[in-house]
């Protein structure tokens, strides 16, 4: 699974993208976020307030209950501020 981090999620985790292999029981966005929290202190810090984190799976906004699978591209970012 390919993970991408943008804005302060990139700053806090210290990475812009990484390949990960979550355990088989991680099948939803919510479970993935919980699992990622323990990946590093930076991930824990970035994901401390999940209300401030938006998720896109394969370029589509996703909710915590939406599914994720090994071939997905999952992006984590704060609410958008363009325009």
């Amino acid at each position: 699974m390919k993970l991408l981090y943008f804005a302060w999620l990139k700053t806090k985790t210290g990475i812009s993208e990484e390949e990960i292999t979550p355990p088989e029981d991680v099948t939803t966005v919510g479970a993935l976020l919980e699992w990622l929290k323990a990946r590093s202190p930076g991930h824990g810090d970035a994901l401390a307030d999940l209300g401030a984190v938006r998720v896109a799976v394969n370029h589509e906004y996703a909710d915590h209950k939406d599914p994720v699978s090994p071939d997905d591209e999952v992006a984590l970012f704060p609410p958008v501020t363009g325009g």
Partner: protein
């Protein structure tokens, strides 16, 4: 048409291209976003716009298609800049043409309201105490909400 680019755009040339030869167009509505020199009482020295290229394109195309479905628009144009910008510089251009003004005004407002709440761009402000990621504003969500209908894809 949708473009994301680092370089500045020539507003006059963009608008002329949008209406050239289109004699059925009776109205052109335009919004241009600029970098302000103040934010929340702090001076802004520069602003850096980051985005998620693959998703930006997908979202802008969807927003554009939604506008064309809702109003009788002849053409639309979205140009959004990324990278480092200074106060006074142009950030974004949204333009709509239609036979009549109301559709052009509504389409233009819809496009910028939706873009601000859905398109994956983030602003990093360079101020007096260093760089700070801009926080999303509840007023932008409220502005986008008034356009919600059953066909809302987001």
């Amino acid at each position: 048409m949708i473009r994301v680019q680092e370089e500045d755009f020539d507003l006059g040339a963009e608008l002329a291209a949008l209406t050239r030869g289109k004699t059925s167009v009776g109205g052109l509505a335009v919004f241009v976003g600029l970098v302000r020199d103040m934010a929340g009482g702090d001076a802004v020295k520069a602003m850096t716009l980051e985005h998620y290229p693959a998703m930006t394109e997908a979202m802008l195309e969807r927003i554009d298609a939604e506008a064309k479905q809702r109003w009788p628009l002849e053409d639309t144009l979205i140009v959004h800049r990324v990278g480092r910008l200074l106060p006074g510089e142009q950030i974004v251009l949204v333009a709509c043409t239609s036979a009549h003004r109301q559709a052009a005004f509504d389409g233009c407002q819809f496009l910028i309201d939706w873009l601000k709440t859905k398109a994956p761009f983030w602003k990093l402000e360079d101020g007096p105490i260093g760089a700070k990621w801009v926080e999303a504003r509840a007023s932008d969500d409220e502005a986008a909400k008034r356009w919600k209908t059953k066909t809302d894809a987001g």
